[in-house]
């Protein structure tokens, strides 16, 4: 059995480390590099507690070998906040009490941020589907869905403040572009807003 030298860029910092082939990414992150925000749950790719972003996609880090991630960019829950400011997903979990014991929370938040990057305005159903790979034993999920909705609204409001969304489409729903699939999201791109 030969050890391997690998490079991981975690939350923007390059790390070089030597691992056995059987070292799982989650153990490399936690035990070798000290990123203990990522939790180890079921260890069988079911619970999602170990979710991190691997080259911008949410994956279960208990089911990835560290050697497979050689050269990859990893983002863990420690990388969500910027300059001491919570990421909107973190604020959402705080605002909506999206956690009780907190064990699943880092994985939930990493899955949620991945979902919101792909779908910035998900329905509650889409949030539930997006988080189907993450188990929570405390909350009953209701407040987690609320938290992700809250984060989506917050991120959307941020985009408006940055001029990224037409203010005249505001409908008071908290989601300025509307959340129905039939709504025209960007009226200036053609079509009419109903």
């Amino acid at each position: 059995m030969t050890e391997h030298d690998i490079t991981l860029t975690v939350n923007g910092t390059d790390h070089e480390l030597t691992v056995e082939p059987r070292t799982l990414l989650v153990h490399a992150l936690r035990d070798e590099l000290g990123y203990t925000g990522t939790n180890v749950g079921c260890e069988s790719s079911l619970c999602g507690a170990c979710t991190v972003h691997l080259d911008d996609d949410a994956v279960k880090s208990c089911t990835v070998l560290a050697v497979q991630a050689d050269g990859a960019t990893i983002e863990t829950v420690e990388g969500l906040a910027e300059d001491g400011e919570f990421h909107p997903v973190q604020s959402g979990f705080q605002e909506e009490h999206g956690l009780q014991c907190g064990y699943c929370t880092p994985g939930m938040m990493m899955a949620a941020t991945d979902l919101l990057e792909e779908n910035p305005d998900p329905s509650r159903e889409e949030i539930r589907e997006g988080l189907e790979g993450n188990l929570c034993r405390c909350t009953g999920y209701q407040n987690i869905v609320n938290a992700v909705e809250n984060a989506a609204d917050e991120m959307h409001a941020g985009a408006v403040a940055d001029g990224g969304c037409p203010a005249d489409a505001a409908d008071g729903s908290g989601s300025c572009c509307g959340s129905d699939a039939g709504d025209v999201r960007w009226p200036e791109d053609g079509g009419e807003s109903e």
Binding site: E20, C62, V64, L65, V67, G133
Partner: protein, 296 residues
């Protein structure tokens, strides 16, 4: 939960991977793709290979392309890559419908279509869809390349026509852009794998079924076509009555004594589920068949 020790090699080309398979022929060797079936098996001790050959980053095994009415999907495309391909959704609607139901978001970001098909887990979501899509599995080995139709690829549980030094390189699917494809699944409440899954690929003209291909996984030790259901559909109007009658034929040609039978579901229960989920796959096809017409 650590796997047993093993040696790890990363192949950068198909040829290098085949050489590594041959060089390590005396060892227990496994190809590593996305690892989402293999690594859990290794962690629980069900599998303890001495050597892993990682083919996940081999460029020639990636990419989705359409060539002369045939969709080609590189074996190392992740599920999410296939779902992100407009070509795949257009030309292989049954396959993409099944892929949408694999695992969860994180699993689809990591697991590969080739790894899934080559692993031949009977409870996987793809064998039925591969059969109805008339997929061809292209493999490469020391003696060159060969193409295996999906209905000749599977021998049984975890057993395929793949030789010891052969690699599944791509999946070819004849375009079914004019068809509706669906997949209905009863997931295991614990693992999410298919206790029973049914894929349907139908062409419907003015409400009448012109062609029907129905396939199932989870029920038997490998994916199967449900010929009697297909026969009961073709030429009929795609309505509730036809669907109920056709679904009632789901187990006609299956040896129910050989149905998968485990703690989660008896063979008898699976036989019942097969009819119900055949019906659901066909009902979903009605919805999808109606959708494009409404948009015209």
């Amino acid at each position: 939960m650590y796997p047993d020790e093993f040696d790890y090699y990363e192949a950068t080309t198909i040829e290098e991977a085949i050489d590594l398979l041959e060089d390590n022929a005396m060892e227990e060797t496994e190809l590593l793709a996305g690892g989402h079936s293999l690594l859990p098996a290794m962690k629980t001790g069900l599998s303890s290979p001495d050597v892993l050959i990682d083919i996940g980053e081999v460029d020639a095994l990636h990419g989705v392309a359409v060539d002369d009415e045939t969709l080609e999907i590189g074996a190392m495309n992740r599920y999410s890559d296939v779902l992100g391909s407009e070509d795949a959704r257009e030309h292989a609607p049954a396959l993409t419908a099944a892929i949408e139901r694999v695992g969860d978001r994180q699993v689809r970001n990591r697991g590969t279509i080739g790894g899934n098909l080559a692993h031949a887990d009977p409870a996987s979501d793809l064998p039925g869809a591969a059969l109805v899509s008339d997929a061809t599995l292209v493999v490469q080995g020391p003696d060159g390349e060969r193409s295996i139709p999906a209905d000749e690829f599977y021998y049984g549980m975890y057993a395929t026509d793949l030789g010891p030094a052969e690699i599944l390189t791509k999946i070819e699917v004849p375009s079914a852009a004019d068809a509706v494809g669906t997949y209905a699944k009863k997931p295991s409440p614990s693992s999410g794998y298919a206790m029973v899954g049914v894929a349907a690929l139908l062409t419907v003209d003015d409400g009448t079924v012109e062609s029907a291909r129905i396939g199932a996984n989870g029920a038997m030790d490998h994916g199967v076509r449900l010929d009697p259901v297909e026969e009961a559909l073709v030429g009929e109007s795609l309505d509730e009555e036809t669907i109920a009658t056709a679904a009632g034929h789901a187990t006609d040609e299956l040896d129910t004594a050989l149905m998968m039978d485990d703690l989660q579901a008896s063979g008898e229960f699976r036989a019942q589920l097969l009819e119900v989920y055949t019906e659901r796959a066909l009902e979903a096809a009605v919805d999808r068949a109606a959708a494009p017409a409404a948009a015209d």
